[in-house]
């Protein structure tokens, strides 16, 4: 019996380590390449795996030709406001859909469901035209625009409110609280874990968005990390160390945040899936 479980265990770990390597190697390669000279990156005879000296030139060049501080700022603003909008509007609507019975709520909720089923590209052109007409391209508002309300968030929060026990509401009623106050002071605080989940989910998807930021914020100052990388793609075709350096600089903040808030990240995603 012991032997069997030992072999099992070894096999298990072998597979897990194998998968871990597969996950990590691209990142390792990104780092190694960013420290090479452009010549080393395209050297074939012999192939350069590890740079002999760690060159910082690529990083310097990338940093000086791109305002990364600005990129971080724009990306952060995008994430922050998306989270804010999602949490506020989704909580309100989630509570109303989840706990109140009123005329038209079914029809209204079907709108939420419809949006969730439709690919976002359907909305892109008209949204872009709206922003253009308002003259609001290249602003934070433009970035946040498609996420001003969140159908997914509403759905998630509705589930969260639905499973809360009814006695709390009754108790609040007896205490003389109106619906609004019941929502804000009694029930909302109990949805914390779902709110965290929603925030994480919103943050990750806002950060990864490419097409929308690329078309709506085109001037240098208003780019986000994703669109700035896309812009660099053709430019540095010959200079892979710089390309990798840029990618690295774009990744690092998020990776750091991830390592610090790991628990919240992972639990957030788990909850957002689990609640559905």
């Amino acid at each position: 019996m012991r032997k069997r479980s030992l072999i099992h265990s070894l096999l298990l770990h072998a597979i897990l380590i194998g998968v871990s390597l597969t996950m990590l190697i691209p990142f390792v390669w990104m780092v190694l390449t960013s420290f090479k000279t452009p010549g080393q990156a395209i050297q074939l005879d012999p192939y350069v795996f590890f740079p002999t000296q760690f060159q910082f030139n690529s990083f310097i060049r990338v940093f000086t030709t791109n305002n990364f501080l600005n990129l971080y700022k724009n990306t952060l603003l995008l994430i922050f406001f998306r989270i804010l909008c999602a949490v506020v509007t989704a909580s309100m609507a989630g509570f109303a859909f989840g706990r109140l019975k009123f005329k038209g709520s079914e029809l209204a909720f079907s709108l939420v469901l419809v949006q969730m089923m439709i690919p976002s590209q359907i909305f892109i052109i008209p949204q872009y035209q709206m922003i253009s007409k308002l003259g609001m391209t290249n602003t934070t508002f433009a970035l946040v625009f498609p996420g001003l309300v969140s159908a997914f968030g509403t759905f998630l929060m509705r589930q969260a409110y639905k499973i809360l026990p009814k006695d709390l509401e009754d108790a609040a009623k007896i205490d003389g609280l109106n619906i609004g106050k019941t929502f804000l002071y009694v029930l909302a605080p109990l949805t914390k874990s779902s709110l965290v989940a929603l925030s994480v989910f919103t943050a990750v998807f806002a950060y990864k968005e490419l097409m929308w930021p690329m078309i709506v914020n085109t001037s240098k100052d208003s780019l986000v990390l994703a669109s700035a990388l896309a812009k660099m793609k053709g430019q540095y075709v010959a200079n892979y160390p710089e390309l990798m350096a840029a990618s690295l600089i774009a990744c690092v903040p998020m990776i750091l945040l991830y390592f610090i808030f790991q628990k919240q990240f992972i639990e957030g995603i788990a909850t957002s899936g689990g609640k559905l």
């Binding site: 871990s20 996950m23 990142f27 009123f102 709108l111 939420v112 590209q121 896309a230 990798m244 998020m254």
Partner: protein, 298 residues
């Protein structure tokens, strides 16, 4: 008498509060989603002028053009190819990993952290590295294993190479969702099965899968919808004009982007995306109907 008025007062109050609370979301959805949906469908019946000026109504011409447009038809096939490979693999591998990590083993937290890492990194950056890894001449893969494969320029395999990037990125995310679902499955079921002499595979098939079928269903449906919208990776990894594999790899959304924002023909772009919508709805509908056959809700 008093009771009746109280009830109707409460009902009115509820009505007012209800609508007040959902108003921002509903207004938002209407302005941001419902109106654009109608606009896009309407635009698919128009031809767009330079710089978005002057739309001309042309009826179904865009649709006629689309159904005889080989590139679009091919892109539908490409999108389906991508989806059929990316989703099952990323789901299956993630499920297996989740099962493995569902026990108290050493380093569990570390593994979890590592597997989830790709999810956190911007697709743009991921695409950049993989593009370099896949490079026929200078890439790590070909040079490490002494190969000469054109991963992203060979029309026969490029779409699958792109799918591999997608699988690699999604495994962690799917795994986390499955882990959450697995943790809901009571231990006793497995113990009972073990006592009855069931093998690992039998337990998996008859206990695990049915118990987590709701979350499995959710993951498959959402990942499929996402896979059908693939764009970022293709855009970042392959060059439009010179890559011989592009024709057999470009997805519907990629063509949508080309039409709408590169060629600035919003009319035709809208047509493409309407077709995508119909495709996604059809596939999702099939899946929802099929769920009765295999998904067990408590």
């Amino acid at each position: 008498m008093k009771k009746r008025s109280l009830r109707s007062a409460t009902a009115t109050q509820t009505f007012l509060w209800g609508w007040a609370l959902i108003l921002p979301t509903i207004v938002g959805l209407t302005v941001l989603n419902i109106i654009p949906l109608i606009t896009t469908i309407s635009q698919s019946f128009h031809k767009t002028g330079d710089f978005g000026r002057g739309n001309i109504f042309i009826g179904l011409k865009n649709y006629q053009k689309l159904f005889s447009d080989q590139a679009v038809l091919q892109s539908i096939i490409n999108t389906l190819k991508y989806t059929i490979v990316q989703v099952p693999f990323s789901v299956f591998i993630a499920l297996v990993l989740a099962v493995m990590l569902n026990r108290e083993i050493k380093g569990r937290g570390a593994y979890r952290t590592i597997f989830f890492l790709p999810m956190v990194v911007a697709p743009a950056a991921i695409a950049m590295v993989w593009r370099w890894l896949y490079n026929t001449e200078f890439g790590l893969i070909n040079n490490l294993f002494n190969l000469k494969i054109s991963w992203i320029s060979d029309p026969a395999i490029a779409v699958y190479s792109i799918a591999i990037i997608g699988i690699w990125s999604d495994i962690g995310y799917n795994m986390i969702l499955f882990l959450a679902g697995l943790q809901e499955v009571p231990r006793d079921y497995y113990e009972a099965a073990d006592l009855d002499g069931a093998s690992i595979f039998q337990s998996f098939r008859h206990i695990t899968v049915p118990m987590i079928s709701p979350i499995l269903f959710f993951v498959i449906v959402t990942r499929m919808i996402a896979a059908m919208q693939v764009f970022d990776t293709i855009f970042m990894v392959m060059e439009q004009r010179s890559n011989p594999a592009m024709y057999k790899t470009q997805s519907l959304v990629y063509l949508f982007y080309q039409s709408s924002f590169v060629e600035r023909d919003f009319g035709y772009g809208s047509t493409i995306v309407v077709v995508l919508l119909v495709l996604i709805m059809a596939i999702t509908a099939i899946q929802i109907i099929a769920q009765k056959k295999w998904v067990h809700y408590n």
